[in-house]
């Protein structure tokens, strides 16, 4: 955040100061907020930054910047030369970027590059998520209106922007963007959309695209309206492993995206009874399970690395297991002819609920266990209403089906 302020200040100094004002700048005239901006890293504790107004004291170079740059900075500050100050600050920061400022035995924190700072400034300045919502919504509308080509173009645009957001976060944070609830709400619909595009390529069925758009719009609206902290946060110490964060979390959270998509498809199947939709459901269940089971096992291996045990029925582990059980029952029952497409769709919806609880419920409703870095609160009532409505939907469909079967007899 401090570095972001630094960048913003540099850009303020450079571009937005009226020309007439330049040349009349004096240190004491500068507005108090600017003079107190901490832009001078301490010489010995570089994580500690001093405000600009400390340049007034002639105590020698107390900054981590080279002496020559410090002298120029001080001269520019004392003379009130904002252009020179701006230029020298940029030069000064360039001498630091990419250098370590906090070192642990295995992990090191580096000063971000100017490119990262600019990316962060760009990310926070523009409503990128809102852009995604608009594009996905437009694509969804086009699907509803059967303008499939337009819908596809809009969806691909939305997906490109969505990918750009994730790539930007990766670039800024230097890690996969899946370390808290807010980040996973961006990542999960991206996976759903990616999976839907791949399934569309294989099965030539556009329904899956519409379902993915619906899911993306819903989740991104929740992200915008839920009050989740939008900041680019530091990763928790326990998650501070690029390797496992990439392997375990991307797989498991990725499976959520696939399962949520299968859940939406399940709802559509129960309404429209389309065999092609059922085939899509089966494929999404296969992909989801193929991600969830190995991902969960790899999580066990990570837990063995980090906490010293492979499996201990921590609530997050337990609910991953429960979700796996739900899908295994459905897949076994379908494979061995105990249920039909109808059962498959119902199973996809039940699994959808189990996944929602694993993702949201464990962190926000149960709130116990070792995965405490994801805990939060709020939204329980909406979750309960949604779960209740979904169960009512299933009961309603079941009653209708019973009636239809009775009528046919």
């Amino acid at each position: 955040m401090r570095l972001l302020l630094f960048l913003l200040f540099i850009s303020t100094l450079g571009a937005e100061v009226p020309v007439a004002y330049q040349g009349r700048f004096r240190p004491l005239d500068v507005n108090a907020q600017e003079a107190t901006l901490e832009m001078l890293p301490d010489r010995f504790v570089v994580s500690h930054w001093h405000p600009l107004n400390e340049l007034q004291d002639s105590k020698g170079n107390f900054t981590a910047y080279p002496d020559e740059i410090y002298q120029r900075l001080r001269a520019a500050y004392l003379q009130g030369d904002r252009q020179e100050l701006h230029k020298t600050l940029e030069e000064a920061y360039a001498s630091l970027e990419g250098k370590p400022y906090e070192e642990g035995s295995t992990n090191t924190l580096y000063f971000p590059t100017q490119g990262q700072l600019q990316a962060e400034s760009f990310y926070t300045r523009y409503p990128l998520i809102l852009g995604c919502i608009v594009l996905y919504s437009a694509a969804l509308l086009a699907f509803v209106l059967s303008a499939k080509r337009t819908a596809l173009v809009l969806m691909l645009s939305a997906f490109a922007l969505h990918t750009f957001i994730l790539a930007l976060r990766c670039y800024i944070l230097g890690r996969p963007p899946v370390s808290n609830m807010q980040e996973t709400i961006i990542y999960v619909p991206w996976i759903s959309v990616l999976a839907s595009l791949l399934l569309r390529l294989i099965f030539k069925n556009s329904l899956v695209l519409a379902c993915a758009c619906l899911l993306a719009v819903a989740l991104l609206i929740i992200l915008r309206t839920s009050g989740l902290n939008p900041a680019l946060e530091n990763v928790q110490a326990v998650l501070n492993s690029q390797y496992w964060l990439t392997v375990h979390v991307l797989m498991v959270v990725g499976s959520y995206g696939i399962f949520l998509l299968s859940g939406i498809l399940g709802h559509f199947y129960l309404i429209r009874n389309n065999e092609e939709t059922a085939k899509l459901i089966l494929q999404t269940l296969y992909v989801g399970v193929a991600l969830l089971i190995p991902g969960t096992i790899l999580g066990g291996v990570w837990a063995a690395q980090s906490w010293g045990r492979f499996w201990d029925w921590d609530p997050k582990e337990a609910w991953a297991f429960i979700s796996i059980c739900v899908y295994l029952i459905v897949i076994h029952a379908y494979t061995f002819h105990r249920i039909s497409y109808f059962g498959l769709a119902v199973g996809a919806i039940l699994g959808f609920q189990a996944i929602l609880f694993t993702w949201y419920g464990v962190n926000y409703i149960l709130g116990t266990g070792l995965h405490s870095y994801g805990f939060g609160n709020g939204g329980e009532i909406y979750y309960y209403i949604f779960a209740a409505l979904d169960i009512c939907f299933l009961i309603g469909i079941w009653i209708l089906r019973k009636k239809r079967v009775a009528k046919n007899y």
């Binding site: 295995t106 193929a290 066990g300 690395q305 010293g308």
Partner: protein, 480 residues
């Protein structure tokens, strides 16, 4: 054959998967309601029925695979997946029976070579001649008294309570004040007002001191009243104040503390607090065999009182992790018999209590298991993100000494960065706390050894994952 077919059937598989899932759901709900993982585990994951379900899984998978004999190419995905599952389950069982799992608690500068085994109980005895023995106490409260290194002792479990309130008593025990070398004197109930009764008197450095003791809720208020009673105020402003009372030692018994006030002849007041929750200002005699005493220095004289631990049985809490079990033991040797009540010392670092006339020390603690390494903690640190309270890394600098060879290795371990020895012991940093000694840190290091991990559990996980891919996509849409 019918039974065999049933044991390998899809119906049993679905029943087992559903039942296990229901058990686990119940476990997570219980854990959330009670905030106790152990409570939930007691009714679910550690329940024999749950274990039976897991064994049922094992059988179901095995038999369903064997029923496909003679195996053909089309069975490969099924067999690979289920072999993976069997290997995973087998690995977990082998770890449970033959593996090691425990924790080391080490303070900066100190070392340990003994693991605390979780969820275990034992009585540990130390003899004056440095022999020691631990007696395991099983979950069903049967005490295994193998004669071991202390054959002259017999131990019986006389009483047990699953939870107790532990307090440390020194100066005041029940309704009397005990000071070494003096006759016990009475503790009076909270007085309504002056005159305040004197319980006893003692001569100190040529002066006679009044000894007073009261029960009270508000020690400071009562002490002020007693002190003011002995002041004589005369004249007009500025008043003349004279100390008219004899020097007094005042013991006040509050629910949380014993507070000792001294009012000397010159009017000086001294206050000393002795919390009941933990021993304070303690003198140890003969390394504990001679007992522990609270002490106070008054007029260059040292007063002492024997420290005792008092365990009051309480209704157990649902949060099992917070319960402090207590046991009462009867110990006998050829000369003496002794009864002692001990509270459970979860970290095995509390006081060892003298028994059998100070010939032995005893402590109720988790079972300890020796490992072939001594681990010394040089330094532990928590590194925070700059300008933030959020930790960036937890680290500990350790020295591992192999006990057999004396070979030493220095290593820094941190979260996600473990140390594994050549013989399979793995050391994980679990926790860093600031201990009782100011800024000196104490770390919890989890140690485990899983003999089946590399050749059963992890390969099993790989087979399972590979099998899933083969099963789903080698023959898509073909039902068995």
């Amino acid at each position: 054959m019918k039974l065999i077919r049933f044991l390998g059937s899809i119906y049993l598989a679905i029943f087992l998967i559903s039942s296990t899932a229901l058990f686990v759901i119940a476990g997570t709900v219980l854990e959330s309601l009670t905030a106790s993982h152990r409570y939930a585990a007691h009714f679910t994951y550690s329940n024999p029925l749950f274990k039976a379900l897991l064994w049922g899984f094992f059988l179901n998978i095995l038999i369903s695979a064997l029923l496909r004999w003679p195996f053909r190419q089309k069975h490969v995905p099924f067999l690979v997946t289920h072999l993976g599952l069997l290997m995973l389950l087998g690995g977990t069982l082998i770890k449970a029976y033959y593996g090691t799992q425990g924790s080391l608690l080490i303070t900066e500068g100190s070392s340990s070579a003994e693991l605390l085994l979780p969820d275990t109980y034992s009585i540990r005895l130390w003899a004056r001649d440095k022999r020691s023995e631990q007696y395991p106490l099983s979950q069903d409260l049967s005490l295994s008294v193998d004669k071991g290194k202390l054959p002259e002792i017999s131990i019986d479990l006389a009483a047990y309570a699953p939870h107790s309130q532990v307090s440390y008593e020194s100066w005041i025990k029940r309704d009397q004040v005990f000071i070494q070398g003096l006759k016990p004197f009475a503790v009076h109930p909270e007085p309504k007002g002056p005159p305040f009764p004197i319980s006893s008197k003692v001569r100190l450095n040529g002066q006679v001191w009044d000894l007073m003791a009261f029960k009270t809720e508000e020690s400071a208020t009562l002490a002020r009243k007693i002190y003011q009673q002995g002041l004589k105020i005369s004249g007009e402003a500025p008043f003349k104040i004279e100390v008219a009372h004899s020097p007094t030692l005042l013991f006040l018994d509050t629910p949380e503390n014993v507070v000792l006030y001294t009012f000397d002849k010159k009017g000086h007041v001294q206050e000393e607090l002795y919390p009941k929750s933990s021993p304070k200002a303690m003198a140890v005699y003969d390394q504990g065999y001679g007992g522990y005493f609270s002490f106070a220095k008054i007029e260059k004289e040292t007063f002492e009182s024997l420290l005792q631990c008092r365990c009051l049985p309480q209704p157990p809490s649902q949060m099992l992790e917070e319960n402090i079990p207590q046991i009462t033991l009867r110990l006998r040797n050829s000369d003496n018999q002794d009864f002692i009540t001990l509270p459970f010392e979860r970290q095995a670092t509390g006081l060892k209590w003298p028994v059998l006339k100070g010939q032995y020390l005893a402590r109720f603690q988790p079972l300890l298991e020796k490992i072939p390494y001594r681990v010394r903690l040089r330094q532990a640190r928590e590194i925070k993100y700059p300008h933030s309270t959020q930790p960036f890394s937890y680290e500990s600098d350790l020295i591992f000494t192999e006990l057999k060879t004396g070979r030493q290795i220095e290593k820094t371990i941190s979260m996600n960065n473990v140390h594994e020895t050549w013989d399979g012991y793995r050391f994980y940093l679990a926790n860093i706390t600031t201990g009782d000694l100011g800024s000196i840190k104490k770390v919890q290091i989890i140690v485990n050894r899983d003999p089946a991990k590399y050749w059963l559990t992890y390969p099993g996980a790989f087979f399972l994952s590979a099998g899933i891919f083969l099963l789903f996509w080698l023959r898509p849409y073909r039902k068995v």
